[in-house]
């Protein structure tokens, strides 16, 4: 069964092709989308999207966004998306710094835990793409 994967950032359409499976960094943990997946709408955290086609794996960096999974397609509306090679490291570093300063300033517990989550995913992502 054909399964179409689309990765779009506000600036452009990065990928649109048929794949076997997609690993999406969903807000509450990684999620693998395959053909016939139940329709799901998920928020994304910062992380890596892994696309598998016939044994070949390809990765993309996304910083937040949404994934719309349908039985025959998976569309990612990313806030920022790039291949690990093209990715702007400074953007990530500035995001981490921003989250850190906001974490220091806030006194609201809900906001604090939210920020900690964001910070966690950002630093993990930072380590993941370090060698690149």
């Amino acid at each position: 069964m054909a399964f179409t994967f689309e990765l779009v950032s506000p600036e452009r359409l990065l990928v649109s092709r048929e794949v076997d499976s997609v690993v999406v960094p969903a807000a509450e943990g990684d999620m693998t989308a395959m053909p016939n997946h139940a329709p799901t709408m998920s928020a994304l955290r910062a992380g890596m999207v892994t696309v598998e086609t016939g044994g070949d794996k390809e990765q993309f960096v996304v910083l937040g966004g949404f994934a719309d999974v349908q039985p025959d397609s998976c569309t990612i509306l990313a806030e920022t998306a790039a291949t690990p090679g093209d990715f702007d490291r400074d953007l990530l570093t500035s995001r981490i710094e921003e989250a850190q300063t906001r974490l220091k300033e806030t006194s609201d517990d809900d906001e604090r835990s939210e920020l900690e989550e964001v910070l966690g995913s950002l630093t993990t992502l930072n380590e993941q793409i370090l060698p690149a």
């Binding site: 689309e6 779009v8 452009r12 329709p39 799901t40 709408m41 928020a43 949404f66 569309t75 509306l77």
Partner: protein
Amino acid sequence: MANLKELRVRIASVKSTAKITKAMQMVAAAKLRRAQEAAEAARPYSQRMGKVLASLAGGGEPADAPKLMTGTGSDDVHLLVVCTAERGLCGGFNSSIARLARDHARRLLANGKTVKFICVGKKGFDILRREFSDKIIDRVDLRNVKRLGFADADAIGKKVIGLFEDGQFDVCTLFYSEFENVVTQVPTAQQIIPAKPEALTDGEADTGSDVLYEYEPSEADILRSLIPRNISVQIFRGLLENAASEQGARMSAMDNATRNANDMIDRLTLDYNRQRQAKITTELIEIIAGAEAL
């Protein structure tokens, strides 16, 4: 009647004007292509976003839908976000957007509503300042932005949403110019808050609306982050359309200017030659008359 020297100076100056407008036209043509490509590249995102929103809205509005979608329940205070260019010399581009916004504002004021402006771009600010200087609450300067990125639009979006959450306005309308082709740009007003998801066209109606979605984390959470994002996306789209329209308008305005300058050069040259010939003829007559008198 101007004398020969004056005409010569005049022709030289019109010639250099023609050179400048010709150069501006070519620069605008090159920029237009880039702006058009950017606008086209951004289209898939807003289309997909519209589809996602439509399928979300198709599942019925949840009771706790964010205010950005449902509105505040009143429409007393209107915020007009007017996007124009930073530079002039692009025909009626800036003034037609400003005129649309001004008419809209006058209509609202006549109905007893309160109007506030945010001006994006210098030119719109300059025009609207004359009539609504006390109503302009903010202006965004994009002069130093070389390549329009989503971050620029997102900053404006966040500002607008921040104002909305503070209860500063009820309805927000975006003004920009839709790029149709090089000679036609259509000034457009688009309501972005409360967000009206576009109605599904018949072909798509059966694909999304009755599908039961699973949400992660929850439908309300998704909507809460999706709607503000959609507002930024709409602004981004407006700015990109505007950028393409501006270059298109400038290109045709400069093309006209070059043609006018060339017409003027032809006229002046004809004038110049005629006067020169008249002078030669007069001199000849004087010489002949002088010789005959001897």
